[in-house]
Symmetry: D2
Subunit: 346 residues, 4 copies
């Protein structure tokens, strides 16, 4: 049994606590939040759980094995670092930290203490994304040529993070999981429509060493909700539409064929192929439950989580670069070499 | 009655000829094409129409008042210039020309000869786009904050033009018609997946002097067909989905409200507003027929067409800038001042 | 404060208990269920609530003002009758009872004791159905000409009730609420594909005194989930699609116009009208919460609930007649006069 | 080469003529219509085609091998009979005739003269329906349990035929092609909202000797257009949605499994199965062209067309029975034995 302390009982914390109780190997010992009203809610729902406004009580509680952090992004680093230094395993909300520097520091801390550090990239644990990963890994798509995602709706305008850190983080986490390689450069554009606010609409293009491109369109000011990702391979292509009630993943046997005969050094011939569409059945387990189970398994076996610190770092690197590029109207920002290297080592 | 000579009877030419016969004020006298098989097809369908492989016969035919040009882009400038110099009104396929230099030259030629020069931005004449224009002009949307369009499908890979010149030209023409101002800078990214080919997938961001942004996503390699445009205003927002069989235009009474009290110099307050949706009935007339009627009217009255040379030029300027930016991975390209000025003058 | 005893903590009971705690004027004192495991679940979630396997403890508990019944249909009558006889107000799951005889008996019992008797026709309290009612009552639709509903999916095959009593009951409850009159005759067809089972697919046509028709298509064996209702008026028409994430109710300004001039005694002229579509914003409150609030209000004021015993009876009458007709392959079954009369009196 | 005379150049005639010219083995020699304006239209489009207001000129023209009849239903019998008696093959619009008596008479006439008689059940020749037939015949669906079709829109109110003869005829023709057996009884309901008109909305249930049911919902007064058919098998199920732009046919690996152990003589166990969905690629050839090619092949080989007189008769029998049942509010009408027999013989 892994005993948890949960920090933060705002929007996401209740989902964490509920699922931590539903996974047989995990349970919640204590919850900390600075808001007494939120703690009362915890007590009414789970009378057995201890509550406190002092996060340190969780760190000092020897019954607690792991800390789940569901607080604003800017606090992730401090809280996670203290938790690791207190010998607790850590599951931290996405994005992992506010800077890649911080993310690397946490990775080192966890590694030196043999603690499990996991980032809550929830979508990676959905039946849909796991199925896409399975299909991509099977080679069915051929070489992946592009990744194109749109995630827009009338969303909550946030003060501390821009739309990239709020919405694109989901796409980057999914992309990081599915694609075999990591972007080498980023060009992003965006706009802020509210005085004193952050960008509420952004477009990110990512370039890869291979002849691959990725693009993410995020927007807090759309009248309609769209959650659609295209993964284009040279054999098959996937459309992942998270708004579909049941057939979220569709695999199309469609595309082009390029004939490269000697002759076509000068003239490639493009052929078109149109075939069946196939929508595989998806596991409908709640993603967060699957993820918590995975975290418990990693604690038991010492394995690196699928969405461990390295994955969290890779995503933060792109977020950082994208925000930087966006401030300069799309100026290309190169992702430093160590990032690519760190993936190789993972 | 306006008598037409039509150059080019390939993909679009047959639509032109058919509609030129359906508009009571216009008719076709002769068609030229370099392919004898295509000319035979003309003869079998319209025995009364003269056919020729020599374009100059159209220019020299005194019965012909206007030339409609439906040939590849790189030929537009030469054909249109000769037609104008022969005293013929000109309706030219989009994009107007291969360079803005050429477009300006045609504008001057037409102006000096008092001839009507129109670019076939067909979508501008659809019931859907005309309705959007009407709504935008009514002030119902408030200030327009962004324009976001996606135009993707498994399309014909072209050799001479990239996906921007092939697909984005539609979006730019529509945007040019609807928005009250013109972009001042462009950042575009894209990729070419076929050896020796042109970019088959591209993303264009456009910046405006006002706090407005526009983005166009075009792709020849998508397994699904999407034709969707969002026009976000600070009062209402439009979703224009051309794949919908009937309700192509939806107006959403949704958005945010920003309260700027003195206090909020430091802290703007964002409120959310959610209301009804409204799908206006659209005129279902064939766009090309409406457009030809408009061209005939302009010839009669001497008025500048809605999609005249200036509109064609503005679109070519953006295409040019976007291709240039794309070659440099999103480097910002500023649209020269004379463009903005020329719009003011139009 | 209205104190509740809840009978049955299976599929629906947990929703009742949760909402009874969320409405400020109501709370749950005790839950009875014959299954100890279910009662343990109650205790773990709501430690303050008493649990019992003996329904009579609820009846004898003087703190309890009202009984909510969420047990199989065949038990509704007995449990509700005992509750009323013990002086408790009653909220009973749909369908109200197994026979109209039973329903009338309960209505009489409640009336004679001045107790509130409400049937849980949940859909009637959704934002969508309340909006449709508002539109229909406003006269906007003109005269209603037809009501056509489809409610199909891969559903749980039930042993004790057929698909009409399981699914069509929703449509009949909604229809009863929206239409100004009540069917006078029913013809139903259906089929049972499972040996020893009940009909798993059925079609019900209902005739009215006016020139109105209604039809319900229900199916437990559909590969896709459809929840769509058309309400056709001679001025406007509504499409209510419960599978739509946001725009569930669409009002179409479409239809025919019939010109009846003296001349047209022999020849009516049908004209076609096509106009705008309008999707009103809907209240997204949880229907069950709205309903419980209404029940509490009725107890306070003594008013007849919107879905009181009379509404429950009218629905049971149609269910009864439909099952009877279905056994005879669509033989017309006339709804007895007293039903129509009872509505007039309600 | 098969030379055609075409009778009737109203709504459907132009499609016939166009396709008769597109199929290499067929061509049109003459068109007859009682309206001179329509004949002028023929002449302008096809100068080589003879036109006449006198149908008999077609019969007497020895160059004509076959007559295509695209006139109102009530004229089909007379025109087809005369054509057959003049030794011409006949392709007649659906529904074949106004009565089954007439249909049988035509079948006999064609048989005795060794002429090909085909009914234009166009949908049967679409890529979608041919694919469904292929899937059904492969055994993939298992035993077919039900057929459920909805065909509604704001349609033309017709004076001479009701909505069953106008719209349901399509569904019955498709069903006749796909299902291995023929209905034995029909119960239909409907309503007429226009004084002096015919039923504009109808529901038809069909019973089979096997434990199979079929239902068709047709409506001229729907604000939305729906063209959806479910074919439920005990192994797989099909949804055919003709409004989908590309994936019109979806095959679902979903359903129930019924375990019948000796024990379950009294208690069948229903299990649920949910699997992948599959949308096969469809041939997009124009159905009418495929059909005309088939007709030409039958003339050459003497084979019975897929939609020959027997198929036309079976459909007319159901139409007849449905209209009869509808007049009596759903009274069950049994289809006479000879119908079933005639199918066996076909």
């Amino acid at each position: 049994m892994v005993n948890f302390g949960v920090v933060g009982y705002g929007y996401w914390g209740p989902n964490l606590v509920r699922n931590l109780f539903e996974v047989p190997e995990t349970q919640v010992v204590a919850v900390s939040d600075m808001n007494q009203e939120r703690l009362k809610l915890v007590k009414s729902r789970y009378p057995s759980v201890e509550t406190t406004t002092d996060f340190h009580q969780l760190l000092n509680n020897p019954k607690i094995d792991a800390i789940a952090i569901a607080t604003p992004v800017f606090t992730h680093y401090d809280l996670a670092l203290q938790a690791l230094q207190s010998g607790k395993h850590v599951m931290v909300e996405k994005p992992m930290t506010s800077t890649s520097e911080q993310a690397m520091r946490l990775i080192d801390e966890a590694a030196s203490r043999n603690l499990v550090l996991m980032v809550d990239h929830t979508f990676v644990y959905t039946g849909a994304v796991r199925k896409i990963k399975e299909i991509a890994d099977s080679g069915q798509l051929g070489e992946i040529l592009y990744y194109d995602s749109t995630r827009i709706n009338l969303g909550l305008f946030q003060r501390d993070v821009d739309v990239i850190w709020d919405l694109a983080v989901h796409d980057l986490a999914i992309m990081d999981y599915i694609l075999p390689s990591t972007p080498c450069a980023v060009a992003a554009t965006g706009i802020n429509h509210v005085f004193g606010g952050t960008e509420n609409l952004a477009y990110i293009t990512m370039f890869f060493e291979e002849n691959v491109i990725a693009h993410v369109n995020v927007n807090w000011l759309s009248p309609v909700k769209v959650r659609r990702t295209l993964v284009g391979g040279n054999k098959q292509m996937i459309v992942y539409d998270d708004m579909e009630p049941s057939e979220k993943v569709k695999v199309y046997d469609k595309g082009i064929t390029v004939n490269s005969t000697p002759d076509s050094l000068y003239k490639a011939l493009v052929g078109y192929r149109s075939g069946d569409m196939f929508a595989p059945q998806l596991d409908v387990s709640e993603a967060l439950k699957v993820e918590i189970q995975h975290f418990a398994d990693c604690i038991k076996t010492g394995a690196e989580p699928i969405t461990g610190g390295q994955a969290g770092l890779r995503v933060v690197r792109i977020l950082e670069s994208a925000s930087l590029s966006m401030k300069q109207r799309g100026k290309l920002v190169t992702l430093a070499d160590e990032l690519t290297l760190s993936r190789g080592a993972a």
